[in-house]
């Protein structure tokens, strides 16, 4: 974790630079003061992914990396299976020829209600926000990787190498998302920068944030050609995610662990007469 010995002030300064005019650098800031007095919010952000609609195209995977400044792994890191994917397409194969079943499962962070990753962090670098987003505070992370081991869904990634972009590709970097350094863990944030922007827009227009504002808000949901990903407030019974979560096809991954994931999958169906 050699690159991580920087003094906090320097890092904070950097993060501020990264975020540019828009202030929020870490989730802690995003969900509290910077979001305009939303402390005590009763929202609980969740996502519903319809596996019947999903065609396994991986548009969400590339969209997520583009939105969130996830560096390319390059040949070395990719070969070591260390490339970073906040959203990844998991393929599950069952059966034998010719009775095969292959399923494609887009996997963001499950944003558990009871996240195992938080319990093991020795420095309080990972936390859950008031609106239910499980987040990583990069400035606190010491790179011990307890959380990557604790996560039963393998949705946390460690920066083994110095994140880098070829000079010209640096132009694609999103100013709304902080760039991480070597030696810290990173993960899906439900695109909190987009949630923040949507809140700010609604406030500027002097109206409440609606389900329509957020339903396709995260980069993965926005890009999905099959319209398979919905996002919203699980505490609002009228929201699309709440409605979908009541489907008999709904399931959560490894529920038996007591993690209470807020990513809900809708089971794939097959045609029947």
């Amino acid at each position: 974790m050699n690159a991580d010995s920087a003094e906090p002030s320097g890092r904070r300064k950097f993060l501020a630079t990264v975020a540019g005019a828009a202030a929020a650098a870490s989730l802690g800031a995003a969900d509290a003061g910077a979001t305009g007095g939303e402390r005590g919010s009763k929202r609980k952000w969740g996502m519903v992914i319809d596996l019947d609609k999903c065609t396994g195209c991986q548009g969400c995977v590339v969209a997520c990396r583009a939105e969130n400044n996830v560096p390319m792994g390059g040949q070395t890191e990719s070969e070591l299976d260390r490339a970073i994917y906040w959203m990844d397409m998991m393929t599950i194969a069952e059966g034998h020829y010719p009775e095969l079943r292959v399923q494609f499962v887009p996997m963001p962070c499950n944003h558990c209600e009871n996240p195992p990753c938080i319990k093991v962090c020795p420095v309080g670098a990972t936390h859950i926000s008031e609106e239910g987003i499980v987040a990583q505070i990069f400035t606190r992370c010491i790179g011990c990787r307890y959380c990557t081991t604790a996560c039963p869904y393998t949705r946390r990634y460690f920066n083994w190498a110095t994140p880098a972009w070829p000079e010209e590709l640096k132009k694609t970097i999103n100013p709304d998302v902080s760039v991480r350094s070597k030696g810290v863990v990173e993960k899906c944030t439900f695109c909190h920068q987009r949630i923040r922007a949507a809140k700010e827009k609604a406030r500027a227009e002097d109206r409440p944030l609606t389900d329509a504002d957020v339903c396709r808000l995260p980069a993965c949901a926005a890009s999905c050609p099959a319209d398979a990903i919905a996002f919203g407030d699980l505490n609002d019974p009228e929201s699309e995610v709440s409605r979908l979560a009541r489907s008999p096809r709904a399931l959560r991954l490894q529920e038996e662990l007591g993690t209470h994931p807020k990513v809900i999958y809708l089971r794939e169906a097959k045609w029947r007469e």
Partner: protein, 700 residues
């Protein structure tokens, strides 16, 4: 002198360490808080509507541009093709724009061919040099010795190249069709009279039978289809469209289908005819449609009173399910069941893949699959197969050819189209290297590569490299130093998609007229030039008469001229009748489209000799007659080509075993070139985000 080798740059890209940033030890990859370019305020962002170019589907995009740099691509929710969805290729578009390997400006070869040593030159010098050499070729009366290899064989650039070759006097406009989807287009050409891929009314169909159609991977309308599939499964409460995929390879689309049927390679045609057999025998087909709107179903007598074979007899006599089961490996009861399901869940669609038709029995196969749609009476009807309506664009003024051009255009095409070497095809790009190396029917002396990298993407790339080496003048318009560009004398790097103006008539998907706008999201990064502008400048540099055919100051002006037609259209999505207001709205919306598809316009759907859908293609019959006037010639030709089919069956949907290279006992396996969604035909393989993407997700 600039040295470029692809391998070097790729290695640099691959090794993460190699691009570490100087002066940024603690927080590497720090955001380039670059100088804000003129015209931009700090923190300012704009959204630009444009059209994707990563494949030919023509999805609408909205590009987020922040302080002058493009930082994110989103789908355009208004756009009928993709309704906001964007696949992995589209999402990776920024890495094409900002690709570190991009060429900085025009280059002229220094040192021997293929050495990769180049000298930067000005656009004037490069275009002047090339024009001089082309003018010399023309003045020697050899304009036909110029060939253009066009990797994007549709749309306005294709028309522009065609115009250029017409006035210059060469018939050699080669496309990649024969390596991609020619079989499907040919089936449409010969049975429908429409030389275009079909569109489908997915919203209203009830059953889809795919013949190897990689609907969710690298089909030409993939993103449109994903949205449609989503609707077919979950958009209609209580109703689900059944999707059956028949394919030898269990790929992503087969995994997503409701049912996968495994089949022997190159036997799709036999299965389609077996299904037709069941439909006909059990009278499950749409008799009224077949009677009113098709030709050649029943046996018929020609003008000389001779009995001709009908499609009915062909399938009843030759394709009983038991025999088809033996040929295809699909059990007879499955064939019976699939036919019955299709017939009882109408409208049902049978879709072929370009790959299904890419075998030695391809045309007959594509026709056989297409014939199922006619049997089920779903052509030109809701839930069926549609004929893409062209947009009412104004045309460019027709060109006038001088004597040299007329003589050149009369020469046979080097790739054999229109000659006995390619009797029914639209192109035969695979044949080009052999023809070039043989110098037959005449030597190719100048060759221009446009969006084409045959050394990499075509079979036998080494033969292509050898052929390019043999051509005295090779020009590449590639924005990247690719494998074919390595053999060029001049490189005229094109703008990338997010830097240029273009009108896009995408691969058919919605059926109704649609024109996408491509407009620059950013100021061009390098000293590149849109190839449309290169063509216009080249024509002008050639002087009269070529220059007269290109009166526009630039390519953009040539495109705007075409828009005039849309202004007058009545049911278009943009109501403005004032030209400036129209263009402004087009720039905002990113596309123009006409509302709704007019069903059952039979005369538009079947512009064939009979005015009907033709099971028996009279176009094939007359073409064969013209090329082989006497019976003996045709027989000799078929024998030489190894074609087993004879007589009327040549003009009907038919099947014969596919032929493969190598002895079967030595090579028991058949290679099926699988096109993953992140690579397709290989045109985007240099994009890091796509190279890193697992082909079909991460296998646990």
């Amino acid at each position: 002198m600039v040295e470029i080798t692809r391998r070097q740059t790729l290695t640099a890209l691959g090794a993460a360490g190699a691009c570490a940033i100087a002066g940024c030890s603690k927080y590497p990859g720090a955001v380039p808080v670059a100088a804000v370019p003129e015209g931009w305020n700090r923190g300012e962002e704009r959204w630009i509507a444009t059209t994707c170019g990563q494949c030919q589907a023509g999805c609408g995009l909205r590009v987020r541009v922040y302080e002058g740099r493009a930082i994110k691509i989103e789908g355009n929710r208004e756009h009928p093709v993709n309704r906001g969805g964007i696949g992995p290729k589209g999402q990776a578009g920024l890495q094409v724009l900002y690709h570190p390997d991009r060429l900085r400006g025009p280059l002229k070869r220094e040192g021997p061919r293929g050495a990769g040593r180049w000298k930067p030159v000005s656009w004037e010098e490069a275009i002047g040099d090339i024009a001089r050499q082309l003018a010399e070729l023309r003045s020697r009366g050899e304009p036909q010795a110029l060939a253009v290899v066009n990797g994007e064989p549709r749309g306005f650039m294709t028309q522009l190249w065609d115009r250029f070759l017409q006035v210059y006097g060469s018939p050699n406009h080669w496309t990649h069709h024969s390596a991609v989807d020619a079989g499907k287009i040919l089936a449409m050409t010969y049975m429908h009279g429409v030389p275009e891929l079909p569109a489908y009314d997915w919203q209203a169909t009830r059953y889809v039978l795919g013949f190897g159609a990689s609907l969710f991977e690298s089909w030409c309308q993939t993103i449109h289809l994903m949205r449609a599939s989503s609707f077919m499964r979950r958009g209609m409460p209580g109703r689900r469209v059944k999707f059956v995929q028949v394919s030898p390879r269990f790929a992503v689309t087969a995994a997503k289908a409701d049912e996968w049927v495994s089949i022997e390679p190159a036997t799709y045609g036999a299965l389609a005819l077996g299904l037709a057999h069941v439909l006909v025998k059990r009278k499950l087909y749409d008799e009224a449609f077949v009677r009113e709107h098709t030709f050649g179903f029943e046996g018929w007598k020609d003008a000389s009173g001779r009995d001709r074979r009908g499609f009915r007899d062909l399938v009843l006599e030759d394709y009983p399910p038991e025999k088809v089961a033996h040929l295809t490996g699909v059990p007879a009861e499955t064939i019976e069941r699939l036919a019955e399901e299709m017939a009882t869940h109408r409208p049902a669609i049978a879709v072929a893949d370009g790959g299904a038709a890419a075998a030695t029995n391809g045309l007959g196969t594509a026709m056989a699959i297409h014939a199922l749609n006619a049997l089920l009476g779903n052509l030109e009807r809701p839930g069926g197969m549609l004929v893409q309506r062209p947009a009412p664009l104004a045309s460019w003024k027709p060109v006038e050819l001088d004597a040299i051009a007329r003589a050149g255009r009369a020469a046979p095409r080097v790739d054999g189209v229109g000659t006995t070497a390619c009797a029914l095809g639209r192109g035969f790009v695979q044949h080009a290297p052999e023809a070039i190396l043989k110098g037959a029917p005449y030597p190719v002396k100048a060759l221009i590569l446009y969006r084409s990298n045959p050394v990499f993407s075509k079979p036998d790339g080494r033969a292509w490299a050898e052929a390019l080496r043999r051509v005295p003048l090779v020009v590449s318009c590639s924005p990247l130093p690719d494998e074919s560009t390595l053999w060029a004398d001049y490189v005229l790097p094109d703008h990338t998609v997010l830097e240029r103006w273009e009108l896009v008539e995408p691969v058919p998907s919605v059926g109704y007229p649609l024109v996408g706008l491509r407009q620059p999201a950013v100021v061009p990064l390098h000293d590149t030039l849109a190839t449309g502008d290169v063509v216009i400048r080249l024509a002008k540099a050639l002087g009269r008469p070529a220059g007269d055919a290109f009166p526009w100051p630039d390519y953009r002006a040539a495109l705007i001229e075409r828009l005039q037609g849309l202004l007058k259209a009545e049911n278009g999505s943009i109501a403005e009748s004032d030209a400036d207001a129209f263009v402004k709205e087009l720039q905002r919306a990113g596309a123009w489209w006409a509302s709704g598809y007019p069903f059952e316009k039979w005369e538009r759907a079947f512009p064939t000799p009979s005015g009907k859908f033709e099971f028996y293609s009279q176009a094939i019959a007359s073409r064969l007659e013209a090329l082989f006037p006497d019976k003996g010639a045709l027989e000799r030709h078929l024998k030489a080509c190894g074609v087993a089919t004879r007589g009327d069956d040549l003009c009907l949907p038919h099947w014969e075993p596919g032929r493969f290279a190598g002895e079967p006992d030595q090579y028991p396996f058949v290679l099926i070139a699988y096109r993953a969604i992140n690579y397709a035909e290989g045109g985007v393989r240099h994009v890091p985000a796509l190279r890193e993407l697992p082909v079909a997700g991460r296998w646990s």
